[in-house]
Symmetry: C2
Subunit: 424 residues, 2 copies
């Protein structure tokens, strides 16, 4: 049987998951794949934790992984400086790399792939954890032209939004709970501000549209402004609020954006809850396909790392024959101002006659019409009255201009909430 020797960089939870899977399931993997996985070296700059290294030698120097007894380097140190250098050097030495590092791929993918055409660099674990979405887009749906890829690709955001919806928590309460349960980091900003999702979306954009890995092209908005009140109104209107990553092919080019959005409850994607991730892919032949599962966690992410290791290992004698997908210039990403969607608006107003008519008139002056609305009695005499509106489809430029105008109206008594509605 073919033996393939792994050099493992990092010893965090995902790396520990990799070791644990190899320990428990390597006979099973060998029977299925014809590959016997051996961990020959482990390197980590922190002190060696109490983990079974399966007989591998340990070093605190990452460069020890470039030795001849390593066939594949598995990069699980995270961050984007040292990790990038490690990947570059490994590829330059002709050693295939498997990584879970979304930041490095999203920011440096194009140069990493272009300079090393014949040396595999695989990253299934970088997008949506255990879900084999990279493989699905690159292989399972290889014959398809993609219309859109829309994902719930940040488990922290989904956990928080679900807790706010199902258990009436505030954002802060839900975040605190997510942190206590390990679904959010001590510094949650990369998750709740949308950066993590935007890294993943950058990769999905490149995969689906054979285009460059360019993080700067993605519009990014997090979930910090979503309130329990908005979630409740959305529910009344037949929607749920999810944090989405969206890439879509339209006539003018590609949309690439990360933000909270209302999606109709009739959609399967609306029912993906808690820390789960899901990616909906619409393509010309396969139609709508949806892939869901755990987006994070040591074992789940390690499952995806192992899939890549096995795929590389099976072809390791024939790397010359491997084909790197061509990265194209492709269509431009459309400016956010030109994006068309419907909008949810929550406008706090003074409780006075004629206010709704004023709001409608202001929207109408920007060619925006009202598809649905909710207006409730104020709770107490001095309270503002929330006017909640679903608009028709309009451009970001139009809605922004309308919101500017609305904010200046004397009847408007506070900040206007606006969330895009995503029709799937």
């Amino acid at each position: 049987m073919k033996q393939v020797r792994i050099g493992l960089a990092g010893l965090g939870t995902v790396a520990q998951g990799v070791l644990s899977i190899i320990k428990n399931n390597s006979a099973l993997i060998a029977r299925r794949s014809g590959v016997q996985l051996v961990v020959s070296r482990v390197a980590s700059r922190s002190t060696k934790p109490e983990v079974d290294l399966l007989g591998a030698s340990f070093s605190t120097s990452l460069s020890d992984l470039y030795q001849d007894d390593v066939d594949i380097i598995v990069e699980l140190i995270g961050g984007d400086t040292t990790a990038k250098e490690l990947i570059e050097q490994a590829l330059a030495l002709g050693k295939p790399v498997v990584t879970a590092n979304k930041a490095v791929i999203a920011r440096y993918g194009t140069s990493l792939f272009s300079s090393n055409q014949n040396v595999p660099l695989k990253f299934e674990a970088a997008v949506a954890g255990a879900i084999p979405i990279v493989q699905a887009v690159q292989q399972g749906l290889v014959a398809n032209r993609f219309d859109h890829v829309i994902g719930i690709i940040n488990g922290t955001c989904n956990y928080i939004l679900t807790a706010m919806e199902k258990r009436g928590m505030s954002f802060d309460e839900a975040l605190a709970e997510a942190q206590a349960l390990g679904f959010a980091e001590a510094d949650p900003s990369s998750d709740v501000e949308g950066i993590d999702a935007a890294h993943k979306l950058t990769i999905l954009l490149a995969l689906a549209f054979d285009s460059a890995y360019d993080f700067s092209r993605v519009y990014v908005e997090g979930i910090t402004k979503v309130t329990a009140e908005d979630i409740k109104y959305a529910d009344e209107l037949g929607y749920r609020i999810k944090h989405l990553g969206i890439v879509r092919s339209i006539e003018a080019g590609l949309e690439a954006r990360v933000h909270p959005a209302l999606i109709a409850k009739s959609q399967l994607l609306a029912h993906v809850d808690n820390e789960q991730n899901a990616v909906l892919v619409k393509s010309d032949a396969a139609g709508n396909t949806l892939f869901s599962g755990p987006g994070a966690g040591g074992a789940a992410t390690a499952s995806a790392v192992l899939a890549d290791i096995v795929a590389v290992a099976q072809r390791i004698d024939d790397l010359e024959g491997a084909h790197a997908p061509q990265i194209e210039d492709g269509p431009p990403v459309v400016a956010m101002g030109d994006i068309v969607s419907a909008h949810y608006l929550r406008i706090p107003t003074l409780d006075q006659p004629g206010v709704f008519a004023e709001v409608a008139k202001a929207l109408s002056s920007h060619n925006i019409s009202i598809e649905a609305a909710i207006q409730k009695e104020p709770q107490a005499e001095q309270d503002a009255v929330a006017i909640v509106i679903l608009t028709n489809e309009t451009t970001e430029n139009s809605i922004n201009a309308a919101l500017d105008q609305l904010s200046g109206l004397q009847y408007v008594a506070g900040d206007i909430a606006r969330i895009r509605v995503e029709s799937l």
Copy 2:
């Protein structure tokens, strides 16, 4: 660029889908995969329809596909006699085969795979149409030990059950509509009796547990006994009724069964509606992953056929290096009588005092307790009263014995409906 020549057997809707995708997307496929697909021969025993064969030669003799100018044979004639012979001969001649034929794989897979270890035989399209579930189980989740695989794998059944639930149709009305829309065949028995789902489940069983392809091991039950009334009661109890294929690893061996089942509305799988398919996979590292999409249709099925063609084509120079997963004897399939699950029962009874107590007593004598119950007033004086019960978990043997006893009670006024409850 590597050119790979296809011999296409059949010219039905899926074959036409394959031709159409190659016509429209072959440049895209080449750029992504490094493979230029050429259709060199098409054979079909029926008259040649008005279809663009992309320059391929046409013959009514399938054996014309065995010529030197064919690198891969794509079997899309269906049925299980001629198709099986075609596949056998192609493999014997060393030609890789791609098929969408679930019946042939489910019934003859073991011998086909064992006698031709080095010649690829691929069948992504045989299970759940466009959904790349074969690839997900074999590759994306290759490092996982599977706990269970549970699927909505017959679009006809799902369409009918959804129409019955959402639009209050009877089974016959829903079937007629499905036929009118092309979601059910003129002779729907293979679908509504569960045979089609059982073919697919046989394949999932073999894939997930590295075991033989043996259709006879699967318990099969269709949806013809499910009534609108049962769907309504299930809804009241918090469940939906879906037609499921289930393989599961338990201590005593493997479960393999196809039947209608109640699943809790809190489960994502419960929200897969209409003609859509979905497969839920639970495995040790990746946890719960779910894959959904169109389970049938020319273009959708062709998408999966093309994925296989490209995968074979990319390795066609290195078939020696390909590894065929080992088929094992593995654990036995557990007898249906020993399967443990909760049950939904609808018992028509005479409207007399003490009946519920009698029913409870009969169940209790088989150690079956009642977890939830619904009893409604009769509509008219002479009507039977339906007692609806969710039992605790019990063996099939126990519930069968209890049902025998209940049927004999003088208060029971008709056939008892029983549907298993599947906890995911």
